[in-house]
């Protein structure tokens, strides 16, 4: 994985000292909240429902064991012993004290981490396929490009005062595990007929109050022109954005208002102009970065069979283990969705267990998935049993990946100032209702995603079953949506009808799921059945 050079480290260290000084002035009353707020947000520090919240960037979801141990140390020393992994592959601490925030940033800088651009009108943490570098189906590891774009867009003045936030995702496989088309700027690495590497480009996606799925603006941008193309997109947006209305400033709104054809025309015009300026990065710089992502030294001649004689282990393998590109290796998914737990939460002790496993068994690498789970990307199949035993002891061996209890949920009204309703208790009640693993496996892949407000941090638009919490005259109410997806056949979920109270939404989900079970055809997932029969096939079952 990427290692800071002296310039990276100097920039991050200087930023910590800047923030230490800004915080001191705020605490001494030399700066008002209005003056300080944009500065703390540029360092990922929010003021949430119960305390300050610090969002730590995990670039493209990649961590090493030293970094995860540091995150555990921070959780234990400065927070309340846990952290929360988010749907942008980041980590949030929910109980931070302002007076300690500069010390936390200094601790993060010791392990090449920071909170820069995890908030504000900037290019946010760039996300990627969490199987990057390991997936059997990828063309190449997408992370060198994610890192190159991260470096080119961090602190760049032109991108520091964007109309709103801007989210980028990079994948390199046909299967989309990163919800790429739900981003402002989605990139899929492809090979053309001549064998050259380039990008399919998908601008204009996003969730929130006005969801849009990104469209394809180019079949092939040569790889070393991608920064020029990104600049062109940002300039067209910057030039035309509705800066007068916060709800209309995201790029997806501009794309919608201009139309895909006109937006593409303007981008192409700008792109051709930028190409004449020669602002793309030198090949040598890309190669310097790419060298950090050289595949680990995989052993050869390893056994490809897994000893499945322990039936509990076999259940875990069936659900949590994915194919790896190297023979004898596998990708091990770690569920952060225990039935009675809080999705995405992890204690400091659990972080240390996983850090040890990554160091011992996975070439010191692990990943955060946007689904709020973790991944050990490169493990020998022969080591899976030992890994499973350690995970089981740490309460991390649930076998529910992509099943009905593997629910994405935002922090909701339990933690978030923007939320209108709680998400976590709804996720917990649904998980309890479907706790029986045989029932879960019978239902198959079924992705439930819950947001506590229209900002959609819980990705409800992309849920096979989505739930949106709203405020109805001071009480929590939940809308049910069906048919969304964040995969390579991206689709937007549709609202079924009138909302439900907290108990009612759990019953409504169960009725929808039972309807699926009644009418599914062999091999159909919930989403397939929904696409076949449409909303009408479910509505009566849900509302009676």
């Amino acid at each position: 994985m990427y290692k800071y050079d002296q310039y990276d480290q100097a920039m991050v260290d200087a930023r910590v000292e800047d923030f230490r000084d800004q915080t001191r002035r705020r605490l001494e009353g030399k700066m008002t909240d209005d003056q300080f707020k944009p500065l703390r947000l540029k360092n990922g520090l929010y003021l949430q429902l119960h305390a300050y919240m610090l969002r730590v960037a995990i670039p493209y979801g990649t961590l090493n064991s030293r970094q995860l141990r540091k995150l555990a140390h921070i959780a234990r020393t400065y927070d309340r012993g846990y952290g929360h992994f988010t749907t942008r592959q980041n980590l949030q601490y929910h109980w931070i004290k302002l007076e300690q925030a500069p010390d936390i940033l200094a601790e993060l800088a010791e392990v090449e981490m920071h909170c820069i651009q995890t908030s504000g009108e900037s290019i946010r943490n760039i996300s990627a396929d969490h199987y990057a570098g390991a997936a059997a189906d990828e063309i190449m590891d997408p992370r060198p490009w994610a890192e190159t774009l991260r470096q080119m867009t961090t602190f760049m003045p032109e991108f520091s005062y964007l109309p709103r936030k801007f989210k980028i995702a990079v994948i390199a496989a046909k299967e989309d595990r990163a919800a790429m088309r739900w981003h402002d700027f989605g990139l899929r690495i492809v090979k053309n007929d001549a064998g050259e590497i380039g990008f399919e480009v998908y601008p204009g996606g996003g969730m929130g109050r006005t969801p849009f799925i990104a469209y394809k603006s180019s079949d092939f941008v040569p790889q070393h022109q991608i920064f020029s193309y990104l600049q062109a997109v940002l300039r067209v947006w910057n030039r035309n954005a509705r800066r007068d209305n916060i709800h209309k400033q995201r790029m997806k709104i501009l794309v919608h208002e201009l139309g895909e054809e006109e937006f593409t025309r303007q981008v192409e015009e700008e792109f051709q102009h930028i190409l004449t300026l020669g602002t793309d990065f030198p090949q040598a710089e890309y190669e310097r970065i790419a060298a950090y992502f050289t595949p680990p030294p995989f052993e050869t001649g390893l056994p490809d069979e897994i000893d499945r004689s322990d039936p509990d282990f076999a259940v875990w393998v069936d659900q949590q283990v994915a194919p790896h590109k190297a023979p004898g290796y596998a990708i091990a998914n770690i569920s952060l969705k225990p039935i009675q737990g809080i999705g995405g939460d992890m204690t400091a002790e659990q972080m240390e267990v996983v850090a040890d496993l990554a160091e011992r068994y996975s070439f010191d690498e692990l990943r955060v998935a946007h689904t709020q789970n973790l991944v050990l990307p490169h493990v020998r199949k022969a080591d899976l049993y030992a890994i499973w035993q350690a995970l089981r002891e740490a309460g991390l061996a649930d076998a529910n990946l992509d099943l009905v209890t593997d629910i994405i949920a935002c922090p909701g009204l339990d933690y978030c100032t923007l939320a209108n309703a709680r998400s976590i208790p709804v996720a917990q009640k649904i998980a309890e209702r479907f706790a029986d693993l045989d029932r879960q496996k019978d239902l198959g892949e079924l992705k439930i995603k819950i947001s506590g407000c229209i900002n959609a941090c819980g990705h409800h638009h992309a849920g096979h079953i989505g739930i949106l919490g709203v405020d109805r005259k001071g009480t929590e109410n939940y809308q049910l949506l069906l048919g969304g997806s964040g995969d390579e056949e991206t689709s937007q979920a549709k609202i079924t009808g009138p909302g439900f109270d907290e108990a009612g939404i759990v019953d409504a989900v169960e009725r929808a799921v039972e309807r699926y079970r009644e009418i599914r055809e062999p091999g159909e997932r919930f989403l397939d059945t929904y696409r076949r029969v449409g909303m009408d096939g479910f509505k009566e079952a849900i509302y009676g």
Partner: protein
């Protein structure tokens, strides 16, 4: 009644105007009446509170309670982590929140 709430500047903790200063406990909140704006302006200028705002509250037998669910959750802590609320030892402490 109008009660005032905000966050402690240093710690971010939720606080309530008790007539003389800022308390962690909503039970201590007092009616700020028509002095709300003046109190908030003065206290924020003196850095004794961050982002104060006035909300509707009501007096009950158990003490003052905010009218809106969001402020009731702020007053006690996350409903899903009773161990992290202001009254972790009392299993019934959150009965009035939802």
């Amino acid at each position: 009644m109008k009660i005032l709430t905000g966050n402690d500047l240093k710690t971010g903790s939720v606080v309530w105007w008790d007539g003389e200063g800022w308390s962690l406990h909503v039970e201590d909140a007092v009616d700020a009446g028509d002095r709300a704006e003046a109190i908030m302006a003065r206290e924020e200028a003196e850095c004794r509170v961050n982002g104060p705002y006035a909300i509707d509250g009501e007096k009950t037998a158990e003490g003052v309670r905010p009218a809106h669910i969001k402020d009731r959750i702020r007053a006690l802590g996350p409903t899903v982590r009773p161990d992290l609320t202001l009254k972790p030892a009392d299993p019934n402490a959150g009965n009035w929140v939802i």
